[in-house]
Symmetry: D2
Subunit: 379 residues, 4 copies
C-alpha cells in the first residue's frame, strides 16, 4: 500500500507538538510528509522544511498558498496536519477542506466560538474528513477502559474524577510555547481550560460514553499579569445522575503531565494515569485490586499494541495509533466508504470542547452558577 501524502501547517523550528505529530505519523509507515507551511514567514518555513527533507518547492509561505498549490498537483497532499496556535486552526482547516483535503487538526478546535462555527460550516460543506487530535483517547488502556464500561463491567456509573495537572507555568514564563498560550487573541478565552482542561473533559466523556449536561466552575489566574486562567475547578453533572469533578492546573508544582481519570460504578472502579499509561487499575467490589496491562492477561485485543506486555509503549505510540486509524479512515474514504472516522475524535468533540471552555469561563464569572451544556450536533 502506498503511503498517504501528508502536509503540515505549523510545526516549524522551536515548535513542540509538530514534531510529535511527525513521529506519530512516521512510526507505522502509513504517511509520507511531503509539503508544509511550517512557520509564519516564508523564510522560516523554507528553513524548517529543508531541515525535514522537504522539496523546497513544497515549502510554502502560507497555508492558503499551500492549499491551492497542493490541490493543483497530481501528486498533491491527501491530508494535512494543523499544528498552529489555536486562532489559526479554523482558517487553515477550512482552506484545505475546501480543496477536498483531509484535515487532522490539533485541539482545541479554535480560539473563538465564531471561528469554530466557521470551521463547522467548512466541514459540513466538504467531503473530506476532519479529525481532532485528542491523542489521549488512543492509549490502548484507555480504549480498554472504554470497552469495559461499554460492556457493563463497572455496572451503572456513579462518579467520575478527572484531572490534568502540570507545573510548567508556575512562574511568569516566556518563550514560544508560553507566549501564545497566554495571549487571548491567539489562544482564546481559555488558558489552562482550553489547553489541558479540554483533554481531561474529552477523555472522561470518551471513556464513560456519557455526555456532560451541566457544569459549575471556579477558574483562577494565580500568576500576576497572566491574562488567562492557569488553574480551574469544575463540578459536572452527566446523564443518568452521574456526578463528576474535574481539576486542571498549570501551576501545580511537582506535576509533569498529570492527566488522571477515575471512574466508579455500582459494581467496580477503574483508575488510569497518563504517566503510567500501560496500567489500568481495576477493582470489582469485594475483590482484590487488579493491575491490568496493555496486551497482558485479562485485557482484550485492543488492536493498538506493537509489543508484548512489559515493553513500555507511550505517548508517541498513542499518537501513532491515532495516525494509523486516520490512515485507515482516509483509505476507506478514498474507497468511497464515506466519512466514518470510527473512534477518532472529530468536529463534534471539537465543538463540545469549545462549549466546555465557554461554559467554564461563564460559570466562573457568574460565581459558579450551574450552566447547561446543550447537545452538540455535527456532520
Amino acid at each position: 500500500m502506498a503511503r498517504i501524502r501528508l502536509g503540515m501547517v505549523g510545526g516549524g523550528k522551536d515548535a513542540l507538538i509538530g514534531e510529535v505529530h511527525r513521529l506519530g505519523a512516521r512510526l507505522d509507515g502509513q504517511f509520507d510528509l511531503v509539503a508544509g507551511a511550517l512557520s509564519s514567514t516564508p523564510e522560516k518555513s523554507l528553513e524548517s522544511g529543508l531541515a525535514l527533507g522537504l522539496d523546497p518547492g513544497r515549502c510554502y509561505g502560507s497555508f492558503a498558498e499551500m492549499a491551492r498549490a497542493e490541490a493543483a498537483r497530481p501528486d498533491g497532499i491527501e491530508a494535512v496536519v494543523i499544528v498552529t496556535p489555536n486562532h489559526v486552526h479554523a482558517a487553515a482547516a477550512s482552506a484545505f477542506l475546501a480543496e477536498g483535503i483531509h484535515v487532522i487538526c490539533d485541539k482545541p478546535l479554535a480560539a473563538t466560538m465564531e471561528q469554530a462555527g466557521m470551521l463547522a460550516d467548512a466541514v459540513q460543506d466538504s467531503a473530506a474528513l476532519f479529525i481532532l487530535t485528542h491523542n489521549y483517547t488512543a492509549y490502548p488502556m484507555i480504549r480498554e477502559a472504554r470497552a469495559m464500561i461499554a460492556r457493563g463491567d463497572l455496572g451503572p456509573l456513579r462518579v467520575v474524577q478527572a484531572e490534568y495537572a502540570q507545573d510548567w507555568l508556575t512562574r511568569d514564563s516566556t518563550g514560544k510555547q508560553a507566549d501564545w498560550r497566554g495571549d487571548p487573541a491567539r489562544a482564546g478565552i481559555g488558558g489552562a481550560v482550553g489547553d489541558i482542561g479540554t483533554h481531561a473533559f474529552n477523555l472522561a466523556g470518551f471513556v464513560t460514553g456519557l455526555r456532560a449536561e451541566a457544569l459549575s466552575a471556579d477558574l483562577q489566574s494565580f500568576v500576576p499579569g497572566r491574562r488567562v486562567d492557569d488553574n480551574g475547578h469544575v463540578m459536572l453533572r452527566y446523564g443518568g445522575g452521574v456526578r463528576g469533578m474535574l481539576w486542571f492546573s498549570q501551576v501545580a508544582v511537582g506535576c509533569g503531565n498529570g492527566l488522571r481519570l477515575r471512574v466508579f460504578g455500582a459494581e467496580a472502579g477503574i483508575e488510569w494515569s497518563q504517566e503510567e499509561p500501560e496500567l489500568l487499575w481495576y477493582t470489582r467490589f469485594g475483590e482484590p485490586r487488579q493491575r491490568l496491562t496493555r496486551a497482558g492477561p485479562g485485557t482484550g485485543p485492543a488492536g493498538l499494541s506493537r509489543t508484548p506486555s512489559g515493553h513500555p509503549e507511550g505517548y508517541i505510540e498513542a499518537f501513532a495509533n491515532l495516525y494509523t486509524e486516520a490512515a485507515a479512515a482516509i483509505r476507506a474514504a478514498r474507497a468511497g466508504n464515506g466519512r466514518d472516522i470510527g473512534l477518532l475524535p472529530g468536529l463534534k468533540e471539537g465543538l463540545e470542547g469549545m462549549q466546555f471552555i465557554a461554559a467554564c469561563v461563564e460559570s466562573s464569572a457568574q460565581d459558579g452558577r450551574w450552566l447547561p451544556l446543550d447537545p452538540v450536533t455535527a456532520p
Copy 2:
C-alpha cells in the same frame, strides 16, 4: 509518672473505633483504662467491661451514672473517651465536663448544631480539657507538612486538593457501623460528609494553616433508600485567594481508606496519602521530586516517632501520638498550666466541622450556591 486514669463511653462489643482508641491510649503507657459505660444497656456494658478486665463495679449502665460515680471516687477517672454514635457526643461530654473530667471525644462534634452549641457551653463552663480526635493530624509526616508550610517552604499557597474515598457503603449495607451512620437521628444531617468529609476538611486546614471562607457543594446519595449523602464534591475558597477542591465518597469502589492531600504553592508542592502515611512527596519548582520519610533525611525532629525510618508506623501509632499529647496536656493542666492543648484539635475544630457539614448540605440544596463560612470562636 503514674498513668492517667481513663474511662470510656461507648466502644463495647462490635464497636470498631473504641478498640482503636484503647490501642492508642495503651501504646505509650500513659493511660490506664479503669472504668466504662461501654454499651447502651447495663448488661452489655458489664459484659464488655469484664472482657477488658475492668472492675465490675466500674462498669456503668449509663454515662450519667458513670460521671457521677467516678467524680465521687478518690481514685476516679481523670479523663474520659467518648466513642458513641454522634448524637450522644454532646450529652456525654457535657456530663463529664461538668464534673471537671477531661474529655477526649470522637468527631464530628455532635449530630446537630443545637447539640454542638450545648457542648460548646459545657466546655466554656468547665476547667477541664476538651480534645477532638481528628486523628489524622497526628501522623508524623502530616506534622512535617504543616511545619514546612508554616516556615514558608512552599511559598505563598495557591491550590489545595483534598479527598477521602472509601467503598464500604457501595451497596445497601447493614450492621452496627452502617446502621447508625445512615440514620439522621443518630448521625446528623450529614452522611459521608460528616463521617469522612470532616476529616479531609480538617486535615487541609491543619496542614495549610488556612481557614476556608466559603464553599460550594454538590452532594449525592447513590444507593437507593439511603437517607444521607454517600458522595460529595466541594469547591472551597480559603483566605488569601487560595482555592481548593474536596471530594469524599463511601461508594468509590476500590478505595479503602483513601484520605489524600495535595498542596501547591508558588515555590513547591507536596503530596500525602493516608495509606502510605510514612511518605511525603515534596517537589521544589524546577527540582526533582523528593521522597521524604518519617525520621528520614530531610525531615525535622517531629517528636512523634518511635522507630527509625523504614520500620512502618501507621494508623494506631498516629492515634497513640494524639493520646500521648493528650496525656501531656492533662498533666500540664493538672500542674495548673491552663487549657492549652497545643496542636491537638478541640472545640474550635469541632465547631468548624459542624459548620462545614451544615454548609455542604445547605449549598447542595441550593444548587451549589457559594455559602460563607464565618470564623468560629471557641474557649
Copy 3:
C-alpha cells in the same frame, strides 16, 4: 485475665530495639513490665528502670542477680525479654531458663556456636518456653503468604529471591548500635549476615516451609577498618530442587529497611516488601496481578489484624502480634499444655540462623564452595 509479669535484660537508655519490644508487649495489654537489668552497670540500670516507672527494688545490676531475685519472689516475673548484644544472649537466657522463667530472646541466638550449644542445653533442661524474635514472621501478609503456599496456591515452588538491604553502615559509623555490631567479640563472626541476613533467611524458610540444604556465599566488608561483613551474596539450594538467592547489605545507599521476599511456583508468584507490609502482590500464571491487602478481599482471616484494611498497621503491630502469641503460649504452658509455641520462632530457628551465619562465613572463606546445611534438631 491478669497480665503476664515481664522482665527485660538490656534495652536501657540509648538502646533501640528494647523500646520496640516494650511497645510490642504493651500494645495488646497482655504484659506488664515489672523488672529489669536494663544496662550494663547498676547505676545506669537503675536510671533506665526509673525512667520506665519500675520499682527501684526491681532494677537489677545484672541478669544473674535478677534471675535469682525474681525467681524468689511470689510475684516474680513469669517471662523475660533478652535484648542485649549477641554475646550476652546465651548466658542471660540460660540463667532465666534455669529458674523456669520463659524467655523471649532477640536474634541471632548467640555470638558463637559454643554459646548457642550452651543455650540449646539450657532450653533442653528447662520446662520454660524459649521464643526468638524473628519479628518479621508476624506480619499478617507474611502469614497470609505462608498459608497460601502451604495450601498449594503457588503450585510446586521453584525460585526464592530474598534480600535485606539497609544503608546505615555506609560509612565508618560509631555509636552504641554500630559499635557492638562491628565487634566480633560481641556480635560474633557475622556482621550484616547475622544482623539482617538471618532475618531474610528465616523469613524465606518461614514463608515457603522449605529447608535450605546447601549454600554458596560471597561476603564483603567494604568500609575500611570494618572487622565483619557489611554486604553478602548467597546462592541457596532448598529441598525439592528449589533454588534461591539472598542478598543482605548495610551499605546499600538509599535502602532504609529493605527486607523483600519473592517466591515463584509453577502456578503463581508472590512479592512482599517490609516497607509496604500491608500489601502482598499475587499473580497466577496468565492472570492479572492482584494486590492483596491485610484484612482485605481475598485474604483469609489471619487473626492478626486490629483495624480494617486501609488503616496501615506496621512494624510495631507485627512485634505486638509476636508478643500476643507469646502471651497465649505462656498461658497455655501455665495451664499445663506443654511447650508448643505454634508459629513462633524458637530454638530450632535460632540454631538454623547460627548455622546459616557460620556456613556463609565459611563458604565465603573457601571461595564460595557449596556447603551443606544439616537438619537441626531442637527440643
Copy 4:
C-alpha cells in the same frame, strides 16, 4: 539528508523482534527499508516482503543471495539488520560484512563460540561497522545513570544488583518464539542466560563502566523436557573489588519484562527498572531519595529525548535511539571517519556476552566454581 538504505534478514511473518527493529528504524526517519531475506523460504520471504511494501525483486530467498545482489546494485543497501535465530547471526553478518555492508545484529552474537570467532574474523576483515542491538543501553535514563557514575556521583562503586525476570516460559511452551529458543542447535548452549541474562550482564557493565572479572553460576531448567536453562543465579566479581549478583528467569510468574538494575557506591545509590524506564531513583547518602525523570529537572541533556518529561517514551523509542545513533555512525563512516560507533554496543560486547554464557554454563556444571573472565579484544 537522504535516508540510509536498509535491508533485513529474518523478521518475517510471526516474528517478534523484526517488527520492533523496523519501528525503531522508522521512527526518526533515518532509514528506508528496501530489501529483505525475511523468512527461511523464498516463498515466505516474498510474502513477508510484499506485506511490508518491498520491491518483489528485492525480496530474497537467502541472505547469501541478498548480500551478493544488493552489493551489485548501485542503489544497494548500505546496512542490514540481522534478526534471525542465534545460529544464523554469524554466517549472515559475515556475508554482508564481506561485501562492505554495515551490520546491525541482534544479540547474542552467535549460537556457539566457534561461530562467534568466525564473525569476529569477518568484522576484523571488513571496513564496515558492526553494531549489536543491546537495545536497553539506549534508554535515556540508562545513559543518564552511566554519565552519573562516570563523573563520580556515586563515589567508588561497591555493589551491583541486576536481574531480568520474565514468566512467558513458565509452562512447556510451543510456538515460533519458544521453539528455537529451547533448541540448543539454534539458540546455543544457553537458554534464558543467552536470551535475557546477556542483556542484564551487558547493561550492568554499560552503566557501571566496570568489567566482570569472574563469576560463579547456578543454572536451572525447571520445566520438564526443557533442554536449556530457564532460570539462573550468578555471583560476580568486578574490577576494583566491586561485587554483584545477577538473576535471570523466564519462569518467574508475575514478571513481564522485568529488567532491573541497582548500583551502590560509597556516596550514592541508583535504581532503574525497564518497566518504568523514564524514572531513575537516586539517593545520596543521608539525603532524601530523588525521582529523576527523562528530560526533567536534575537530568543532563542526554540528547535522546523527543518529548518533554511526563510524556512517556518507552521501548520503541529506545530502539529508535539506537538506530539513530547507528545512522550517525554510518554517515560518519561514509565520510571517512572510521569505525567509531560511540556508545553503541558492538563486537566486543558481543564477545563478552558469549563469554558470559559459556562461563555461566561451565561454572554451573562445575558446581558453581568461580571462573575467570579474560579481557576481550575486538577490532
